[in-house]
């Protein structure tokens, strides 16, 4: 984002004046030819609620583009990367998607990690006939709210429940209580897990939904029933810190086993929690520590991200990597490259061919796919990925064992079939 002072002032002035300047920024649309750069847009959450994650998704996508451009491009063509800020806000995010497609002429768009932004964008992606790869965790994008133009390269609540709940129920205990932030994301986790747990005969206590603005967790922690063996928590940022510290001071973590997905620890170091989350089990999608998946590919991508191998802290800043999410945009750029090359895509009107190429595409673990081998399921466009079961030990997130995709895929069958839709 380098803008000279003078040009910046001009922009500020152009922005300050109203309607008559709307058209100043527009370029003249030119017909794309097959030697022009391929434009990949990124609807990135650079400011607002989820920007601590958005930062990494942008950095990683940018690194992938630079790497590909330095190594011959896509089918001999250069990639032009354009990021616009979603402001972590659905109406702005949807507008930025339009801007990327119509103003910056993006051929493909990588989406925000904010699910609300993703859900606002899915219908527009279909109408503008643009391939869209959202990064939010809500199941709906590759379910009831998705369509043929929407693909997922990361994970979602549906597959997360399938990946972790069964093992956790067998190893940690059969009686579960859920405590979570009282909005869509928390309820989605509760509902998906409840289905899996009840199907294997585990008991699920009534949920404890905590209002979003509650900082004092004690009244809610006091409601955790005595018979609870596993306490599943799902909070964000400062509420996550409040949950772990207060659960620790009340000794709830002594009488129950804590289990959750990585999200409550994402972009946060266990050390920042002062050891309060010690002993908690976490479902990761790519280990925070390099040593647990120490491949040449992960070494390379972490080197590009400039993070240390243990805590994932960025060189020269206090940022902690969103380790289970950042790789999804890196891989999204490579999935686009592979599908373009496989389908012979030349201009945007060939996008249906890219969609068909992606449906059912399998890739091996490689620099392009450092998280591991995976398949994009044709029906619901969801990447079927490996998970890891980890535990907080001595202030570090240590992996216990890998959960291969083939062992869990039967627990989350597709709920939709986009291949029946026309493109």
């Amino acid at each position: 984002m380098t803008t000279s002072r003078r040009s910046f002032l001009q922009l500020a002035l152009a922005g300050g004046a109203s309607l008559p300047t709307l058209n100043l920024m527009s370029g003249i649309a030119t017909a794309a030819s097959s030697s022009d750069p391929i434009v990949i847009g990124h609807q990135a959450d650079l400011t607002g609620g989820i920007s601590s994650w958005g930062y990494w998704l942008d950095k990683s996508a940018r690194a992938a583009v630079d790497h590909i451009n330095a190594n011959g491009g896509v089918a001999g063509r250069e990639i032009k990367y354009v990021a616009e800020d979603s402001e972590s806000n659905p109406p702005s995010g949807a507008r930025k998607f339009r801007s990327l497609v119509q103003r910056s002429k993006a051929d493909f768009v990588i989406g925000a990690v904010h699910s609300g932004v993703n859900l606002a964008t899915c219908p527009i992606a279909k109408e503008l006939k643009t391939l869209y790869i959202p990064n939010g965790m809500a199941e709906e994008m590759t379910g009831s709210s998705g369509n043929r133009y929407v693909f997922r390269t990361g994970s979602d609540t549906y597959s997360q429940a399938a990946a972790g709940a069964k093992w956790a129920a067998e190893q940690l205990g059969k009686t579960w209580t859920f405590i979570f932030a009282d909005y869509g994301w928390g309820w989605s986790h509760f509902n998906e897990h409840k289905k899996v747990l009840e199907s294997i005969g585990a008991t699920v206590n009534p949920p404890i939904a905590v209002p979003l603005d509650a900082k004092d967790m004690l009244p809610y922690l006091a409601k955790v029933p005595e018979n609870t063996e596993v306490l599943y928590s799902l909070f964000f940022g400062s509420q996550s810190v409040a949950f772990y510290t207060q659960a620790n001071s009340m000794g709830v973590n002594k009488r129950t086993k804590l289990y959750s997905v990585i999200c409550g620890h994402e972009a946060i170091s266990p050390a920042d929690l002062g050891g309060a989350s010690e002993g908690a089990h976490l479902l990761e999608y790519l280990p925070r520590q390099l040593k647990h998946q120490d491949t040449e590919y992960n070494r390379k991508i972490r080197e590009l991200m400039k993070v240390d191998p243990v805590n994932g802290q960025e060189e020269g800043s206090n940022r902690i990597i969103a380790g289970s999410h950042y790789w999804a945009t890196w891989e999204a750029v490579f999935f686009i490259k592979e599908a373009v090359e496989k389908s012979g895509w030349r201009t945007k009107k060939d996008t249906p061919e890219v969609i068909k190429a992606l449906e059912g595409m399998s890739v091996e673990e490689s620099l392009a796919h450092p998280q591991g081998a995976k398949t994009i399921r044709a029906e619901d466009h969801k990447a079927i990925i490996d998970f890891k079961m980890s535990k907080v030990q001595d202030g570090k997130i240590e992996m216990l064992h890998a959960i291969p995709a083939k062992d869990i895929v039967q627990f989350f069958p597709p709920r939709v079939d986009f291949t029946k839709e026309n493109v």
Binding site: M1, T3, F8, L11, A12, A14, G15, G16, A17, S18, L19, T21, L22, N23, M25, S26, A29, L46, T47, E84, D85, E87, P90, P91, S92, A94, R95, R98, S99, V101, Q102, R103, G116, L119, A120, C122, P123, I124, E127, S144, S145, D182, Y183, G184, W187, F190, P207, A209, P211, L212
Partner: protein, 325 residues
């Protein structure tokens, strides 16, 4: 409209039609992204207009407008998803839901005065959005609000059918519907009801002594303004095919208050000018500078300091002084 020498209704309607003709012409000439952006400005402008009515004309600083914007989305989607309706029926349902919801909530909000209105409306907003987001009550709004429309909406118009899937049609339909809302707002402001309300705003005791039912007038205005907010919700949903529980949040009301104040409270065109400036500034700046909100904030402070009656209100004032010389 507050505008001294421009106040004859015929002039005002003519001016409004001329202005909209210019805006529509401009939109048709624009490129696709800018055209849909302009449509979005018009829609959020109607939302800001509801603030201009309830606060600028009615003297009630309401932070509950987002509730009615959300209720508009809810009503529309209930009609679509629960009853399988299409065309104009969901539009009517959306506005109807906002009006119906404003009757009891407006009754509570209009019992108090000045800053108490602000406090009560914020409490109402937080209360309602907490209830709607909570798992126990999620069945009320969850299945309807947090859903995208599967298909672009269509509006039958005599022999014609306006299809929102076509961006030009969507723009023209939105602009025309916004024009309709503006004409209605103008009638409301200039009607005996609007004038009586002005009297209430200026001096409640005097108005009461003249025989006006102050409570009823304020309540009616609150409900009417909520109808405009609900209509904005419907227009936004049709344009974007999307709504979310977030739309009920009082911070969205705050944004509308800023947009209306920026353009000129109590005026008809001001809210649209304010919305255009706010969104255009945010849109351009955010493409080049991540912390653009700081600049938008400074811009707002400068404008509020030097043009307290807003950009449009200020322009009208300056013009009036000129012409009356």
């Amino acid at each position: 409209m507050t505008g001294g020498s421009f106040s004859s209704t015929r002039w005002a309607v003519g001016g409004l039609l001329g202005l909209f003709a210019a805006v529509i012409g401009y939109g048709v000439w624009l490129e696709d992204f800018q055209r849909s952006f302009l449509a979005e400005i018009l829609v959020w402008g109607v939302f800001a207009l509801s603030v201009s009515l309830v606060f600028g004309v009615g003297g009630m600083l309401s932070f509950a407008q987002a509730l009615y914007f959300g209720a508009g989305c809810w009503g529309y989607n209930v009609a679509v998803f629960a009853y399988g309706l299409s065309g104009w029926a969901p539009v009517v349902a959306g506005v109807g839901a906002a009006l119906a919801f404003a009757i009891p909530t407006g009754f509570i909000a209009t019992r108090v005065r000045q800053h108490h209105t602000l406090i009560v409306t914020i409490i109402l907003s937080v209360l309602v959005s907490t209830i709607l987001a909570s798992g126990h009550w999620r069945w009320i709004a969850g299945p309807y609000v947090t859903r995208s429309l599967p298909e672009a909406p269509t509006l039958p118009l005599g022999a014609l059918t306006i299809d929102y899937a076509d961006e030009m049609s969507a723009f023209l339909a939105t602009a025309t519907l916004v024009l309709g809302a503006c004409l209605l707002a103008m009638l409301l402001i200039r009607s005996p009801f609007g004038l009586a309300l002005k009297a209430v705003r200026e001096n409640e005791t005097k108005a009461a002594m003249l025989g006006y039912d102050v409570r009823l007038l304020r309540w009616l205005m609150f409900v009417a303004a909520a109808g405009f907010a609900g209509f904005a919700g419907v227009l936004y949903l049709m344009l974007s095919r999307y709504s979310n529980l977030e739309f009920f949040d009082w911070t969205y009301s705050g944004r509308a208050v800023v947009m209306a104040a920026l353009g000129g409270l109590g005026t008809l065109i001001g809210p649209f000018v304010g919305t255009a400036v706010y969104l255009t500034a945010a849109e351009h700046l955010s493409r080049y500078y991540e912390h653009f909100m700081i600049l938008v904030g400074i811009l707002l402070l400068v404008l509020v300091r030097f043009m307290p009656d807003g950009l449009w209100g200020g322009a009208i004032r300056i013009l009036s002084i000129r012409f009356s010389r």
